[in-house]
């Protein structure tokens, strides 16, 4: 079976700056891949090269077997794209935005109308069809963009930091939408993000740094490898609690504010920990690895400079 996307030895340069440095990655159809990395790691450049917006300096990029450099028009048909920036025409209505996109992607008038109705329904935007985009909230505008990216039934959805600049509620909605798409349409999805919790929706996580892949694996693999989720505890007698917890087999260290227990699923350990500690517990908090923790741990582990 042909891969949904296949990047081989990709090189992207801006003048003398190398953004993507001989990177290779591929995905079979139906997989969700998350790209993580700090700003300037080359995430956006990778996604741009895949979406034919940028011409690679070297290497090959294929989307469902179509080379993006030699066959950009065929490759573009396979791709639905959500940009980091808002790119809706804010002066036009929701329907007009969708209409022009559908028609540009070669849908007939009839088919365009049909798909617009379908997607407005799917995203509960039917009431908003004639509203001007500038009147919509950030979250709703994002939904319109997702709907638009799906109009031409792409087989690969590429999302560049889809929830940047959204409030938490809107972020939540976007992820619900995306998970539903995966469930209902079985689409191949590739997205970049800064948030570790968003990376968890993926089947495969790719951490890139200085334009190269420094780590890849499933979220579960990543977590076990990192083992850096923690339960933070303060008690009336930390020393006593520390002794008891160590005796019970926990990986505990004393820190300035109390005790830190490293474990895979800290939420599920709270009751046990409180019970084992015996001394009255004052506060309990859960700390999950942030993007920075993961990033630092993986780059340190892979022996990068």
């Amino acid at each position: 079976m042909v891969n949904a996307f296949e990047v081989t030895d990709l090189l992207v340069r801006y003048g003398t700056v190398t953004a993507v440095d001989h990177l290779s990655v591929s995905s079979p159809p139906g997989r969700i891949t998350a790209v993580l990395g700090p700003n300037g790691a080359g995430k956006s450049s990778l996604l741009k090269a895949l979406s034919t917006a940028l011409r690679p300096a070297a290497g090959a990029v294929q989307v469902f077997g179509h080379n993006v450099t030699t066959d950009p028009l065929l490759a573009r048909r396979q791709i639905g794209l959500l940009f980091q920036e808002r790119v809706l025409d804010t002066e036009l209505s929701v329907r007009q935005n969708l209409w022009f996109h559908a028609r540009l992607f070669g849908l007939s008038r009839h088919r365009a109308q049909q798909r617009i109705d379908e997607l407005l329904g799917l995203f509960e935007l039917s009431q908003r069809r004639d509203q001007i985009v500038s009147e919509l909230s950030g979250g709703l505008a994002r939904r319109v963009e997702i709907a638009r990216a799906l109009l031409h039934k792409p087989r690969l959805l590429i999302l560049d930091e889809p929830t940047t600049a959204l409030d938490p509620e809107a972020r939540h909605t976007v992820w619900n939408d995306l998970r539903r798409l995966r469930r209902e349409l079985g689409m191949t999805v590739l997205y970049s993000t800064h948030y570790m919790d968003e990376a968890e929706f993926a089947d495969e996580i790719l951490i890139i740094h200085n334009g190269q892949v420094v780590h890849h694996g499933s979220p579960a693999q990543m977590k076990t490898r990192l083992n850096s989720s923690q339960l933070l505890l303060s008690t009336q007698d930390d020393e006593a609690a520390l002794r008891r917890l160590i005796a019970a087999g926990f990986d505990v260290v004393m820190e300035s504010g109390g005790l830190a227990i490293r474990c895979a699923e800290p939420e599920k350990q709270i009751a046990l920990v409180v019970q084992v500690a015996v001394v009255p517990v004052l506060t309990v908090s859960v700390h999950h690895p942030s993007m920075a923790d993961v990033y630092l741990a993986t780059t340190a582990g892979s022996g990068q400079k």
């Binding site: 030699t70 007009q96 022009f100």
Partner: protein, 259 residues
């Protein structure tokens, strides 16, 4: 390699894409009636102050009242100004990320600038028609033929000069810089063109400069379309210059755009 692109299909879908992009652009412009109104006021002012004001001072040019003589030049100023500005509006759209979505649509990329050219030409054709309808007020009698010929010549000029604006937008990537360059180029372009005076009456050095300006040919074409026989160069030459220019500009745009 699966290059199964049927040429006739590509041509048809490209034409449709250009029309769609133009349609979208016009819809967006229609949301700003204030801008269009401002343009109308500007030109009315120009006709009133410049043409009518100078009329009594200068009198007639080659048997035609001065205000009537410069009228096509004033319309051409409007057409060229707004035509070249199309490049600027394109550059701002690009800066705001509005073009990114279009750049990854499955149509050849040159459809984007060409869509802008089509939209600008349509808008300027409509504006030219409206302005021409006021011609009788300046003592300029229109026949159906001269009206049609003048409209066509203004539309052609709109296409040529919006292509020029877009070409500049391709070469100069920063909207801010482009704005300064456009402003700088605008005055010599507009006024060293015979738009508001007769080329034959100028000193040789100035006439040479004027003949190097492509707008001269577009003004001349419009003037000949309206009055016939009082141009500074042959009509075929006017057409040839404009056609060659638009071909060169399109090739330049195609080169800068990529696929």
């Amino acid at each position: 390699m699966s290059t199964i692109t049927q040429p006739q299909h590509t041509l048809r879908s490209s034409t449709m894409a250009i029309l769609l992009i133009a349609h979208r652009d016009l819809l967006r412009q229609a949301r700003h009636p204030g801008v269009l109104l401002g343009q109308a006021v500007q030109i009315a002012f120009f006709v009133l102050v410049y043409a009518v004001g100078f009329d009594h001072m200068i009198g007639a040019v080659g048997g035609i009242a001065f205000s009537a003589y410069v009228f096509p030049g004033i319309i051409a100023i409007q057409v060229v100004t707004l035509g070249v500005s199309a490049g600027l509006s394109y550059a701002w759209d690009r800066e705001h990320g509005l073009l990114r979505e279009l750049l990854v649509a499955p149509v050849p990329r040159i459809c984007l600038p060409l869509g802008k050219v089509a939209a600008t030409s349509t808008l300027l054709a409509a504006q030219s028609i409206i302005m021409l309808l006021f011609a009788p007020l300046l003592g300029l009698s229109l026949t159906p033929v001269s009206f049609l010929a003048a409209t066509l010549s203004f539309t052609a000029s709109a296409a040529v000069f919006s292509a020029l604006g877009l070409f500049l937008a391709m070469v100069i990537r920063q909207a801010q810089t482009l704005q300064s360059v456009t402003q700088l180029a605008m005055y010599p372009l507009l006024f060293l063109s015979g738009s508001v005076f007769r080329v034959q009456d100028t000193p040789t050095w100035l006439a040479t400069a004027i003949q190097l300006n492509p707008m001269t040919y577009s003004v001349d074409l419009a003037r000949q379309a309206l009055f016939g026989g009082i141009g500074s160069s042959a009509m075929w030459l006017d057409c040839a210059v404009l056609i060659i220019l638009v071909i060169i500009l399109s090739m330049g745009i195609r080169l800068r755009m990529g696929r």
